[in-house]
C-alpha cells in the first residue's frame, strides 16, 4: 500500500517505512543508540529528498530519546548541571547547523556534505569501537586462560586540566573547564542539524574519554541533551526550511518506539562486548556503502535541483 508524503512530495510504501522503523528501532533499542545514523541514509536511499530525510529523522529522535530520558529522570541517573551546559553548546550548534544546512542547500552541496559527514564520523567511531571491543574481548579471553587482570592505566594530567573557566559538577564528581563541555554540546547540535542524528555516538565516547564522567550518568545526561537539541532542531528545520514531514515522522515514530522496546529486551540477553563489536561492524558497513557511492561512477553525470521553493498549490 502506497502513501503520499505531503512535504517530501513522493509516494512510499507504507509497510516498507513501518518495517524499516521497526528494524532500526529494534537495533537502536538493543544497542542503546538513537538509530538516526542508520535511518537517515536509508531514507535517502529509498528516494526521500535528503533535506526532508534529515529534518524528519530529527523529529523521530525526539520521540525515541524522550522515552529513554524519562526513565533516567526517574532513576535520577543524570547530571542535570552538565546536561544544561551541554545543551547551551547544543543550541549554538543547532542554530548554526540549520543555517549552514540552508546555505549548502542553496549551493547544491548538501548531499555531498551529508555523505562526507557520515563517512567521516561513522568511519572514526566504528573503527574506534571495533578496536575497543576487540581489545575487551581479547582481555576476557586471556583472563579466562591465565587469570591475570591487566593493571588499569593511571590517569595522567593533560591539556584538559589546564583549560580555564573551571566549574564544579558535584553529581559527576568533576571540576573541569567549560570549554570542552560547550564544544562537545555544539558539535552534537551541528550534527543533529546536518546529519539528522541524535549524536549519542559522538557524545557518549566524548563524555567518557574526554570529560571522564562516571559511566552511570553518561547515558542519562546524553539523552537529556539529545532530547532538547533534537526538539530545537526539529522546530528550526520546520520553521526555517519547511522540511519536516509529519506523515513520515509519524510512521517512523510508531515503528521506532515499538521496535526499540523489543530491542532493549533482546539486548539484555547479549553480552556487552559482542554487542559493541556488532554495532561497530554495522556502523562500518554503512560508512563503506556511503564511501563507495562517493567514489563510484554516478548513474547520471548531472543533477537537477529545484531553485524555487515548493510549488504553490
Amino acid at each position: 500500500m502506497d502513501i503520499y508524503l505531503p512535504i517530501a512530495e513522493v509516494s512510499v510504501n507504507l509497510f516498507l517505512i513501518l518495517g524499516l522503523g521497526l528494524a532500526v528501532g529494534f537495533l537502536s533499542g538493543m544497542f542503546g543508540v538513537g538509530g538516526g545514523f542508520l535511518m537517515t541514509p536509508i531514507l535517502i536511499f529509498i528516494g526521500i529528498p535528503p533535506a526532508v530525510a534529515v529534518a524528519t529523522q530529527t523529529n523521530q529522535i525526539v520521540a525515541s530519546s524522550a522515552s529513554g530520558a524519562i526513565a533516567h529522570f526517574r532513576r535520577k541517573s543524570l547530571d542535570l548541571k552538565m546536561g544544561l551546559y551541554l545543551l547551551a553548546g547544543g543550541v549554538v550548534g543547532s542554530v548554526g547547523g540549520v543555517w549552514l544546512f540552508s546555505f549548502l542547500q542553496a549551493t547544491g552541496q548538501i548531499n555531498l556534505v551529508i555523505s562526507l559527514c557520515y563517512v567521516g564520523f561513522l568511519g572514526i567511531i566504528g573503527g574506534l569501537m571495533l578496536v575497543e571491543s576487540a581489545t575487551a574481548l581479547w582481555r576476557r579471553y586471556r583472563l579466562g586462560k591465565t587469570g591475570i587482570t591487566p593493571r588499569p592505566r593511571r590517569r595522567r594530567r593533560g591539556i584538559m586540566d589546564a583549560l580555564p573557566f573551571k566549574v564544579r559538577f558535584p553529581v559527576s564528581g568533576l571540576y573541569i573547564s567549560l570549554i570542552p563541555v560547550i564544544g562537545i554540546g555544539a558539535l552534537v547540535g551541528l550534527l543533529a542539524a546536518l546529519m539528522g542524528v541524535g549524536g549519542g555516538f559522538v557524545m557518549v565516547p566524548a563524555m567518557i574519554y574526554i570529560l571522564r564522567m562516571p559511566t552511570s550518568v553518561v547515558i542519562g545526561t546524553s539523552l537529556f541533551q539529545i532530547l532538547f537539541v533534537t526538539a530545537l532542531t526539529t522546530f528550526l528545520q520546520a520553521s526555517q526550511n519547511q522540511t519536516v514531514d509529519l506523515v513520515l515522522a509519524a510512521l517512523l515514530i510508531v515503528g521506532g518506539v515499538i521496535g526499540a522496546q523489543f530491542g532493549a529486551r533482546a539486548g539484555q540477553r547479549i553480552r556487552a562486548e559482542e554487542l559493541r563489536a556488532a554495532l561497530a561492524l554495522m556502523v562500518l558497513a554503512v560508512c563503506l556503502k556511503l564511501a563507495f557511492d562517493l567514489v563510484s561512477d554516478p548513474a547520471d553525470m548531472f543533477e537537477l535541483m529545484e531553485t524555487t521553493g515548493g510549488a504553490a498549490s
Binding site: M1, D2, I3, Y4, P6, I7, E9, V10, S11, N59, Q60, V62, A63, S64, S65, A66, S67, G68, I70, A71, G108, Q109, L112, L116, A231, T234, F235, L236, Q237, A238, S239, Q240, Q242, V244, L246, V247, A249, I253, V254, V257, I258, A260, Q261, L294, V295, D297, P298, D300, M301, F302, E303, L304, M305, E306, T307, T308, G310, A311, A312, S313
Partner: protein
C-alpha cells in the same frame, strides 16, 4: 460519457454537412478531458486520464499532436566532476521557467509529418522543448538575422539540456509517445496521459494541434489542474503558512509518543 456522446454527435454532424469535393473545409478542434482536476491525496500513486475530442475537416494525411505542459519552475543543473577522488556537483547552470511536466503524444513520429521549424516554433517534442538558461544567453545577428539567441556555453549547453530531459524522463515527467494519439472514425481522436507519483502541483495546459503539410493549421487549448487535496493539502498548507506552530506540534507529537511508549511498556 454524456460528453463523449455529445462530441460524437457534433463530429458526425460536422461530417454530415461536409461539402462535396473541391471546396476547402474549415477545420476546427473540440477537445475535453476525462478529468479536469487531479487531486493528490494520501493514496496518490500517479494518475491516468484521457484527452478526447473531434476534428472537423480532418483529412487522410493529417496528423494530431497532443502536448501537455505542466507548471514552470526554475532549475539548477550541476555537472558531477571528480574532485580529489570523489564526485562533486560543480559548474551549475540556472535554467528558467522549465516545465515540471511535459508530454507529447502524436499520431506518428513527429519528424514523419512536421517540419523542423514548426516544431521549434511551437516547442513540440523533446528536441524542441524550451529550456533556456538566460544567464548564459545573448542575442546576436547571425546570417543577417536579428535577435538570434546564442549561448556562450557553446556545445556544452546541449549536454545540460539533454540532462534535464533525461532526468525528467526517468521519473516519468517528460514523456514522448509517437503513436499515442489514436484517430477513430469520423474525425474523433483520443490520447492517454499518465501523470507519475512525483507530478508537480499547479496548472497544466493541454494543446491539441492539427498538422497538415508539415505545419500546424489549427490548435485548441484546454487546462488541467493538479492539486493536493484533503489531509495532504492541510498538512502542506500548515507546514508552509504557519511553520513555527507546525514545528512545535511536530515536537509535541514526538514527545507524547515517546512518553506514552515508555509508560505502556513499563507496566508490562
Amino acid at each position: 460519457m454524456m460528453r463523449v456522446l455529445a462530441l460524437t454527435a457534433m463530429a458526425l454532424a460536422g461530417t454530415a454537412h461536409a461539402a462535396p469535393e473541391d471546396e476547402i473545409q474549415p477545420v476546427g478542434i473540440v477537445a475535453a478531458l476525462t478529468q479536469e482536476v487531479v487531486e493528490i491525496r494520501s493514496n496518490f500513486t500517479g494518475a491516468d486520464f484521457l484527452v478526447y475530442g473531434a476534428v472537423t475537416g480532418l483529412e487522410e494525411e493529417d496528423d494530431i499532436v497532443v502536448v501537455v505542459r505542466g507548471p514552470q519552475e526554475d532549475l539548477r543543473v550541476m555537472r558531477k566532476i571528480r574532485t580529489l577522488g570523489i564526485w562533486m556537483n560543480r559548474a551549475p547552470i540556472a535554467f528558467e521557467d522549465i516545465y515540471g511536466y511535459y508530454a507529447v503524444a502524436s499520431t506518428q513520429a513527429l519528424s514523419q509529418f512536421a517540419t523542423f521549424s514548426s516544431l521549434r516554433r511551437e516547442g513540440i517534442g523533446m528536441e524542441h522543448i524550451r529550456l533556456s538558461a538566460p544567464d548564459h544567453e545573448r542575442e546576436e545577428t547571425r546570417f543577417g538575422v536579428d535577435g538570434v539567441v546564442v549561448t556562450e556555453l557553446g556545445a556544452e549547453i546541449v549536454d545540460y539540456r539533454r540532462a534535464v530531459v533525461r532526468n525528467r524522463a526517468r521519473e516519468g515527467l517528460y514523456v514522448e509517445s509517437p503513436g499515442g494519439v489514436e484517430i477513430l472514425d469520423g474525425g474523433l481522436f483520443r490520447a492517454g496521459v499518465r501523470l507519475p507519483p512525483v507530478t508537480p502541483v499547479g496548472e497544466y495546459a493541454l494543446d491539441i494541434y492539427l498538422f497538415r503539410d508539415g505545419v500546424p493549421i489549427a490548435s485548441r487549448r484546454t487546462t488541467l489542474q493538479v492539486r493536493k487535496a484533503g489531509f495532504e493539502q492541510a498538512i502542506y498548507d500548515f507546514a508552509h503558512e504557519r511553520a513555527p506552530l507546525y514545528g512545535m506540534i511536530a515536537v509535541i507529537i514526538a514527545l507524547i509518543a515517546g512518553w506514552s511508549a515508555a509508560e505502556i511498556f513499563r507496566r508490562r
